[in-house]
Symmetry: C2
Subunit: 345 residues, 2 copies
């Protein structure tokens, strides 16, 4: 018999509320014979305030014992900016070698977009998750004086770039349009850009049926608002991926429906799935948060674990639910209930 051993991290703010709905839909969609075991972890602002801890060695060992991780949101204004982000979120991405940060963007029927003319949007971004300017490789001298110099080092390796580029080519090849766009800034960031471009061109030879394309990151933001239909799969560096996926989420229905996976394709460590949105403390505890992004993240989680049919059922349910919702204002719980019914039906 099959089983899923899931680590659950509700986290801060609306994280609690949306994760509850994610689990509700997960339970509703799983076949009877699949045994779901969950263990909840208390990472986030409360734990930090109580103990000063963000993620201990023991936590990491405990998380490792799971097949996957479902995360709500981490972050609170009561904690200095960066402490939880670097001490928990990024730390985990690096420790668990989540080198594929997968972020699909699909504008579903009936969903509002800030763009005029309701364009076709259906692409995925494969953002590198373990290198680039995110390595924490910086420093400062004469800190706090008029002579301070602060640096940040973007670290890029052939090993790190090739594995994520290869993953993106495989994803592009599996899609009908088979098109992959590299986004970088190789005219300015010459060393990193050269590495990315060379490896991209080299790996392209192994995927002759995939059409390739290159855009500078600044130009990519233009096309994301003027012609998002041109994108099928995008592969890009950690920081550029961070920036363009927020923009992509905004144009394809907002962060209320943007899902993401922090994936270690080798399976050496559990992968982590989370909505792109944050903890939204301003609306926390009010039942106002849209759990769709978390529920779509559960679909990515299921697909990662090989439950393709169940993942597709969730995606179809969210799509139908959004198309049918009309103008009614629903609570977090009501949306979760409606989706649980749809996936079970």
């Amino acid at each position: 018999s099959r089983s899923i051993n899931l680590a659950v991290i509700p986290g801060d703010g609306i994280g609690q509320e949306v994760v509850a709905q994610g689990l509700k839909v997960l339970r509703a969609v799983l076949p009877q014979d699949v045994k779901l075991e969950t263990r909840e972890f208390d990472f986030g602002a409360r734990r930090y305030h109580a103990t000063g801890e963000t993620l201990t060695d023991a936590d990491v060992e405990a998380l490792k014992q799971h097949d996957a991780i479902l995360l709500g949101a981490i972050g609170d204004p009561s904690v200095p900016s960066g402490v939880l982000e670097r001490g928990f979120l990024l730390k985990l991405r690096f420790l668990f070698d989540h080198y594929v940060n997968l972020r699909p963007s699909r504008l579903l029927p009936g969903v509002a977009t800030p763009l005029a003319g309701q364009p076709e949007i259906d692409f995925i971004v494969v953002r590198e998750g373990t290198e680039g300017p995110y390595t924490g490789n910086g420093g400062s001298i004469r800190t706090g004086t008029p002579h301070e110099v602060a640096t940040e080092v973007s670290v890029n390796t052939a090993f790190g770039v090739e594995r994520v580029v290869r993953d993106a080519f495989a994803r592009a090849q599996a899609r009908p349009r088979k098109k992959l766009t590299l986004v970088h800034k190789n005219n300015v960031l010459a060393y990193a850009g050269h590495l990315w471009t060379n490896i991209f061109n080299k790996v392209a030879k192994e995927f002759p049926d995939v059409t390739t394309d290159y855009l500078h990151v600044d130009a990519a933001t233009i096309f994301l608002v003027t012609d998002p239909a041109r994108f099928d799969v995008i592969v890009t560096d950690n920081l550029f991926g961070d920036i363009i996926t927020d923009l992509a989420a905004a144009v394809s229905g907002g962060i209320g429906v943007a899902a993401s996976g922090n994936i270690n394709p080798s399976g050496a460590f559990p992968s982590m799935f989370e909505p792109v949105h944050g903890s939204a403390p301003d609306i926390a505890g009010q039942g106002k948060a849209d759990p769709s992004a978390t529920i779509l993240s559960v679909a990515l989680l299921l697909r990662h674990l090989g439950y393709d049919a169940e993942a597709a059922r969730i995606e179809a349910a969210v799509s139908e639910d959004l198309a049918a919702r009309g103008d009614s204002v629903r609570t977090t719980d009501e949306i979760g209930d409606a989706l649980a019914v749809r996936v079970a039906g």
Copy 2:
């Protein structure tokens, strides 16, 4: 009697065509008593192919003899990516210490935007122009092997950040809404982010009437498409500024109308004014390019040199022209003629 000694760099592709219109409008708007002297420089792809040069020491000395520089566009597919960008454009920004990269975004009446609902857009971005990841401070080892490591170093100094932040506060203070937003990624790029945030908060105390705000760059891209009206003045680092100003141009009427100034406020070196768009080789020589962005860059140039009334006349003319243009397709030359008539009238 007054005079303007202008260096003119038409450059590549449509650069030639749009600069001709910029000069036409400049001549039309200047009062009789102002003597305009221009010297044309042949930088760009042709010069590079002919001589291998992008910008020599002698060129730099010659450019220094001018009050300002008007640039069309530099870049051509026949030249490897980055050669002209780094060998000319960025080299000049660094040599002439163009630390204020000024990029206004205004959605003018009658101008199409990809955003639904024709939002109010009227903000300026003050992009740092001489530091950050643009310093060319990177390298690679084991280049071209499976063990390559490539780095890019973002260099940020208290001196460099403070002067541009101060400039942005002064610009915000001079505008009716008096609001300044710092855009960075201080939760991840901790050292540079700390420097920027600290200096921003310190300088803010000297401008108590300016409302301040902070956004991570990823969140800023969301607001640029969902609520661009929230922005008045933005100050940001060189790379973030590059990215968000292309997006800003896209939402506020496209790069056909996006102007920019590479400014050295001290006047120690001539400032350079250029459209945000590139050389667009695909439409070069066909009279299809919109010269409005270049003409608006001439307005920024005039304001920089103290010709405020003339700058305002150009801006009003472009605004009226766009509002009145209807559906007619006009050539580059026709738009330039129409604007020359309006500013002279």
